[in-house]
Amino acid sequence: MRISLTDRQLSGLIWQILVVAIVIAVIAWLWSNTVHNLSVRRISTGFAFLGREAGMPIADSWLPYSPQDTYLRAFIVGITNTLRVAVIGIVLATVLGTLVGIARLSANWLLARLAAVYVEMLRDIPLLLQLLFWYVLMQGLPAARQAWKPVEGVFLSNRGLILPSIPLETANLWVLLVAAIGLVASYFVRRRLTALHMRDGKPRRSLPYTLLLVVAVPALVSLALGASWSITFPELRGFNFVGGLTLAPEYFALLIALVTYTSAFIAEIVRSGIQAVPKGQWDAAKALGLRRSFALQHIVLPQALRVIIPPMTSQYLNLTKNSSLAVAVGYQDIVSIANTALNQTGQAIEAIALIMLVFLTISLGISLFMNWYNARIALVER
């Protein structure tokens, strides 16, 4: 028996050494080839190129940027562009997907069927094809002069979607910051009040504190700083729009494609999550005389969330990774900008390493956040 055990350990050791040796040998071989090839092609290595002038135009950026800026700055613009589409996409896809998922379970046959068709159609067509489709539709929209006006102040044309906006000055940003701090603070106040409620059984209202922290204090700050919150409406001047917030056609097409595609998957997750809650919970809520919508919101959804969160995390990760399809319609996200840098400098390894680094970081961030949220839900529930 002892001999056979050591045999196993020995064979395990040999296997490991073998595999590691093969992996190292392959990597070393690839490495030496690469070093040789790079020197033959006179491609420099290292990240020094990040400090050089990029010379690439970026059409759609929220940060100030000009082609004279460095590659590093171009990369940062790319990262913000990726985050801009990913974060807004995740929020919208969650809202839309949840609605469709609930619609699939509706007692109304027509609504349920329609939602099912929506899900099936979007899931079974490649995202890239959908993206190209939306982009072509976007280009087929009328020119700025004949723009569609669905609502006053909103224009849809081949220049993209133009919305009314509030110009954000420094004062406005301060007010928003104070409101954000207030929101976090009110969360802690609420937690404290709930803890007190649990201790002595006396319910306490948290709403006044929340209103004070989130509304009253920021309003005072706003008055003190003299921040202006007037909405500017876009106006057609000549061939283009002035004022307002412009969502470029590339961005808008990418956002629509990502949101609708991901929402189909989220709808299925929400549906199966709700179905995973035992029917007895519905019946119990009904027996208590609760309305269906109330039961859904306060009894079923909180329980369903526990089933929903883990697969939802991977959909968020997918959406973020899929945002890299931007390169196909010319929206300049990190992949597109790294690709341009790659073509300009020839430094393929560095450019691709940067892409990977950015996405690994974002993926890790989303996973950590969702794991935290998942743990929190589990705690609250039981």
């Binding site: 046959w109 899931r123 072509v136 393929a348």
Partner: protein, 374 residues
């Protein structure tokens, strides 16, 4: 009638005793139960009917009533241009069909990729049958894939040689997906086993591989395959672009399939391991004969879902310029005469993708239903 039979156990049937009712009566009861049960439900139904009616009518007008189905000659698209924005130009499909389906494959020889596509479909259909799930299936796959290679390349008497850079369209999509799976699946199994292994070095290598591949977008892997791969190779070795993309796909599929297989491995009860050990089976015999067959059976539906995702993902090769189905579709409408009719072409290609994916997802659902029925 069809509508009524669609609800086998709706509230109507379960709640009430069966009474003989006229067809119209049944229909009215059904409508009241399912469309007009409450006031909000009625409002939703009416709103949806309004929106659907309008949308449907618009689609009928665009796709049927105002559409153009043929043009006098390929360069004269005046008829199509006349209805632009009002009606579809379906004439673009027959005009570009051969190019969309087979790309730049020599025109006279296009029966070969067509035959390859049929072999692929036959292979898929056979693989979905339960009676085919045995060892011989691997041989059938090897044979069929070899036959497809022979058809596509040729080079034997009677079949002219056609190099890969002339391949295009649907066969390329199917090749990328099928070969990706055929090689990615064994790779995924090995990696899944490695990830569950107690040997630290092997375990961490597998974790690193899976997490690295799954953490980054597929596009970055494809970029890597198209621009970095040539740097990795020694002088004189030049690997074809399609093959490089294929390797990227195999690595990609391997990582995702490994995670699915791992889920199945975790579902196999520990007693099965103990029993196999008690029989004195070696590691490979234990995994191959006892554990894996059970593990894979557990995860067939999620495996099929991964296949679907993978099939759709092959379209990403458009970005590195490989002529798959989506790329040929996009290229077909570069022709100035047909430039403005891309929506029609995209709809056509979407239908092809949809047919494959929908068939797979239906299949996955029928498997799940069978399994839960047991």
């Amino acid at each position: 009638m069809a509508v009524i039979s669609d609800v086998p156990d709706g509230p109507l049937h379960s709640a009430r005793p069966r009474v003989q009712r006229s067809l119209a009566g049944t229909a009215i009861v059904w409508l009241r139960a399912n469309l007009f049960a409450t006031i909000p439900s009625t409002i939703i139904t009416l709103l949806l009917l309004l929106v659907l009616g309008k949308g449907f009518w618009g689609l009928v007008q665009w796709g049927w009533l105002n559409s153009v189905w043929s043009v006098p000659d390929p360069n004269n698209t005046a008829a199509c241009r006349a209805v632009r924005g009002l009606g579809a130009c379906w004439a673009v499909i027959p005009e570009k069909l051969r190019f969309i389906l087979f790309g730049t494959y020599p025109f006279q020889e296009q029966w070969r990729p067509a035959a390859a596509v049929l072999i692929f479909i036959a292979l898929f259909v056979v693989s979905t049958r339960r009676w085919a799930w045995r060892k011989e299936l691997a041989l059938v796959w090897a044979g069929a894939l070899a036959l497809i290679g022979l058809l596509m390349w040729g080079g034997i008497p009677g079949l002219v040689f056609v190099s890969q850079d002339r391949w295009g369209g649907l066969p390329v999509t199917l090749i990328l997906a099928t070969f990706g799976l055929a090689f990615g699946f064994p790779l995924g199994i090995l990696v899944a086993l490695g990830r569950r292994s107690k040997l630290p070095a092997i375990h961490s290598l597998c974790v690193l591989y899976v997490e690295l591949i799954r953490g980054v977008p597929l596009i970055s892997l494809l970029f890597m395959a198209s621009v970095m791969f040539p740097l990795f190779m020694p002088d004189g070795v030049n690997i074809d672009k399609l093959l490089r993309a294929q390797i990227a796909f195999i690595l990609f599929a391997g990582a995702y399939l490994a995670e699915v297989v791992r889920g199945g491995l975790q579902a196999v009860p520990k007693g099965q391991h103990d029993a196999a050990d008690a029989l004195g089976l070696s590691y490979w015999k234990k995994q191959g004969l006892i554990i894996l067959p059970q593990a894979i059976r557990h995860v067939i539906p999620p495996l099929v879902n991964t296949f679907i995702a993978f099939f759709k993902d092959t379209s990403l090769v458009l970005i590195i310029g490989i002529f798959d189905l989506l790329t040929t579709a996009k290229t077909a409408i570069i022709d100035p005469a047909w430039q403005s009719f891309s929506v029609e072409v995209y709809i056509f290609v979407a239908l092809i993708y949809f047919a494959f994916c929908f068939a797979m997802s239906r299949y996955s659902r029928s498997l799940e239903a069978q399994d839960s029925g047991r």
